[in-house]
Subunit: 137 residues, 2 copies
């Protein structure tokens, strides 16, 4: 399970606890700018870690490079996602993603159309309100 590709990027900075459950590391690869209208980061979720429900005004694409994790779109069941999977998340779709309980999980997150905004983080309280079946935020 500890494969070499975990070392493609350094783990970076610890993500703010306010919007995550568990320990998450973020390495910014491409800062947002008006030339590319994109922001790209590498995100490592330790086992059991996840983000709260949130949306992206311009959309987001997740490229899973290691481990096993989860993705859930509001109103749908949780999907298991693995190394090599790609998830496209349309603008304004409420969703969360994170690691499974027994695997570290790494993805590259490509935020698109960032001229429309990057992320709308919903509070843990609101996450519980939105989550109709997984009230674990």
């Amino acid at each position: 399970m500890e494969t070499a590709n975990k070392t493609i990027f350094p783990k970076g900075e610890r993500a703010p606890a306010e919007y995550f459950t568990g320990t998450v590391w973020v390495k910014l690869l491409v800062p947002n700018d008006p030339i590319f209208n994109a922001q790209i980061g590498n995100v490592v979720f330790e086992p059991g870690a996840r983000n709260n429900w949130h949306t992206h005004p311009g959309g987001q694409i997740l490229i899973v490079t290691d481990g096993v994790g989860y993705y859930q779109k509001k109103g749908k069941s949780i999907q298991v996602i693995r190394k090599g999977d790609v998830v496209t998340i349309a603008p304004d779709i409420e969703h969360w993603h994170g690691a499974s309980s027994d695997s570290e999980f790494t993805h590259i997150a490509v935020n698109t159309n960032t001229q429309k905004g990057i992320v709308v983080k919903l509070s843990a309280h609101l996450s519980r309100t939105i989550g109709s079946t997984t009230k674990d935020a």
Copy 2:
């Protein structure tokens, strides 16, 4: 050198010989669409393989996931790029990229602002012309 991360994605389809020197494999990860205005592919260059000079009307970001390769922007010297490196290529910049002679080289290519177009491939003849710094088109 043969590390596990080469298997994040399947190699995909062989890239058209018209625009590449050597053997190159492309796996389309995200087709272009008007929601994300992005197109993403994984590209594997066998040792010594490269693309011809080309431009991207909306820009491109390369995320190197394995091996050692080269990137050259018109009028600048060749840069060595390695696993973990990220290259941002502004719109309309003439450039090429590919593997070093003794290493396979893999990158994820994120084409941005694709509403402006994805790629302008310059012919091998024109590439030679540009390569000698006497650009005529």
